[in-house]
């Protein structure tokens, strides 16, 4: 019964529950801010520590025993070339696999096995890919500790990312588009290559960028295949030098990459090298964040512009 006493109790109960509600929404906001603040703190800290080394010379010098003269020339060239190999291998392979799974695959046991493997591969720790590459590419296939080995390793690593992103993007294309093309007598491949893939291009690109951004920062698998940490030369450019290097000689060259250079400097006891590590960290972070921001923006634009 709504006696005055009861309604007073009820009111205080409501007040308390509403207060809890309010407190939790504050806690939630704080927790989310924690993430954002960590990101900002991390970046500002790196920037402050590494600021003094971030100049033109840092990008054009080789590593050196003297911290103040050391640079990341061989590292960023190495990263660029490894990414090139990774992209050339992972994009066609990943897109083809996704097209098969989405457009061709019959519903049977084999398809199910492939799907399970794709999702399992996404959960394999990156260092295990490094062990695979060490055993398979470096020794069994005798590719050595080269740019080619590293590029292939990272390609396998980001393959699940490319496949999943491409499949999601293919799935958003309405079935009517395919049916319309079939109705005009197009073959399956014509439907896929002339319609489905072009319309899914944006989504595929987003996935590829996110995959490559992941690959840029990967350190463990490349250390495992035995990349060197002190490289004071560049891979041979095609047709340069004497005798002239072949078109693809750079694939076999030893190399280092940005995260390994950073790891190497972090593990040194001298304080001066930590500054170099921080500066390298800024370069890596700016690279990956820029690529991820590009991908997020692309996705946002696609979602906004395309309405089937």
């Amino acid at each position: 019964m709504a006696t005055p006493q009861n309604s007073k109790k009820l009111r205080s109960l409501i007040r308390r529950l509403k207060f809890n509600d309010y407190v939790f929404s504050l806690v939630g906001l704080v927790c989310m801010m924690l993430g954002v603040i960590t990101l900002l703190a991390l970046f500002t800290n790196l920037l402050i520590d590494g600021m003094e080394r971030l100049n033109y010379d840092f990008f054009t010098s080789f590593p050196s025993r003297r911290a103040a003269q050391a640079g990341i020339l061989s590292a960023w060239v190495g990263t660029t070339l490894v990414m090139l190999v990774t992209a050339i291998v992972a994009i066609p392979l990943g897109v083809a696999a996704a097209v098969y799974l989405e457009e061709y695959a019959p519903k049977n046991l084999l398809t199910a096995i492939i799907e399970i493997n794709v999702s399992n591969l996404a959960g394999v720790p990156s260092i295990v890919y490094g062990l695979l590459a060490l055993g398979l590419f470096v020794y069994q296939m005798d590719l050595g500790q080269s740019i080619l080995s590293a590029g292939l390793t990272l390609a396998l690593l980001i393959l699940p990312i490319v496949i999943v992103a491409t499949r999601e993007s293919l799935r958003t294309i309405p079935r009517e588009i395919r049916e319309a093309a079939y109705a005009l007598g197009a073959s399956r491949w014509q439907v896929v290559s002339d319609h489905v893939i072009p319309y899914a291009k944006g989504g595929i690109l987003t996935g590829v960028i996110i995959g490559l951004a992941r690959a840029i920062g990967e350190t463990a698998p490349i250390i495992t295949i035995g990349a060197l940490t002190f490289i004071a030369f560049l891979p041979p450019a095609p047709f340069s030098g004497d005798p002239p290097a072949g078109l693809f000689d750079w694939l076999q060259a030893p190399f280092t990459v940005l995260p390994i250079q950073m790891f190497n400097w972090v593990s040194r006891p001298e304080e001066a090298f930590l500054i170099n590590a921080a500066a390298t960290g800024v370069v890596i972070i700016v690279g990956t964040l820029a690529m991820n921001a590009l991908a997020i923006w692309l996705r946002y634009r696609i979602r906004k512009n395309i309405k089937w």
């Binding site: 098969y100 591969l121 491949w189």
Partner: protein, 300 residues
């Protein structure tokens, strides 16, 4: 005209060829898995030719590179589990609160702005997080705990936890959003607040998906390499105390790979043996996680 409509054998052949090529690309996923298992088993076989499996699984000393070599994997497994446990202690509360907030509380605008930031947090390279653990988190912890070693498992554990927060929160949020609106509406109709609905209706309904998120997060933490290689120390140390320094499985692999051991030596083979252990541990967690995820999908 009639001719053109006839079945074109060339076109048919081309279609079949393309399908075969695409199938091979998809099948490469299976081949990669097989290759991983084959390489790990092949190199581990020669390792277990020298070392008994019993010693490997029960000895508590891991010194394969010393004169007096012992091959007990337990110290490395302990290091891995301790750092991962610390990571989960950080990631579970924060990740769950963020998931509940994003799924039940946040206005649409806030979600649109915050989610990309969380994704960025997940995309920062791990070597940078390692620097962060060594140079910032550990010194901060040393203010509270002055006796803390410069290399310890607590700092890197916390940093890995921050790293997997976005992963845990986005998987949990997916599970919570899969809970049908009618359940929430029923709860609101009874006069429940958003907080009560979230805790007493949504979370229990989504629990298997949320647990899947924790398990998959654990699997991530176990496989994490660079943070522990930089900040947890390189010395195998059989301890459950996160304040001590200890090598993890992944840190040991990095250490050996940097040391340039000759191909075929026992040290070289040992990284494949511990790699196999790591692979099996993450595989077990991944399978558990996917089973739990499957369950929450089936309920509605």
């Amino acid at each position: 005209m009639k001719n053109r409509l006839h079945k074109n054998p060339w076109r048919h052949l081309r279609e079949r060829l393309i399908e075969a090529v695409l199938f091979l690309a998809a099948f490469s996923a299976v081949l990669i898995t097989l290759a991983i298992v084959a390489i790990l088993l092949y190199e581990s076989m020669s390792f277990f030719g020298h070392v008994s499996i019993f010693e490997f699984l029960t000895s508590t000393v891991w010194t394969p590179l010393f004169e007096d070599a012992h091959y007990g994997v337990l110290p490395l497994v302990a290091g891995t589990l301790v750092t991962s446990a610390v990571a989960l202690l950080v990631a579970i509360p924060i990740g769950t609160i963020i998931a509940i907030y994003l799924s039940e509380f946040a206005p649409h605008k806030v979600r649109e702005i915050v989610k990309p930031f969380l994704e960025l947090l997940a995309s920062v390279p791990t070597v940078v997080y390692g620097y962060f653990a060594l140079m910032i988190v550990t010194p901060l912890l040393q203010i509270v705990m002055p006796e803390l070693n410069g290399f310890n498992m607590l700092g890197p554990g916390i940093v890995i936890g921050i790293m997997i927060v976005p992963y845990v929160s986005s998987l949990s949020e997916d599970a919570m959003r899969a809970v049908p609106m009618s359940l929430r509406e029923g709860s609101y109709a009874m006069g429940a607040t958003r907080f009560q609905t979230a805790i007493k209706v949504v979370t229990p309904s989504a629990i298997s998906g949320i647990i899947a998120a924790y398990i998959l997060g654990m699997s991530r933490a176990i496989g994490e390499t660079m943070v522990v290689a930089i900040a947890a120390g390189q010395q195998p140390n059989f301890t459950w105390d996160p304040r001590e320094s200890a090598a993890t499985i992944t840190a040991y692999i990095v250490q050996v790979a940097l040391g340039d051991l000759p191909h075929g030596s026992i040290g070289y083979q040992s990284i494949f043996a511990v790699g196999l252990v790591l692979f099996l541990m993450t595989l077990a967690f991944n399978i558990l996680g996917h089973m739990a995820r499957q369950r929450f999908r089936e309920i509605y």
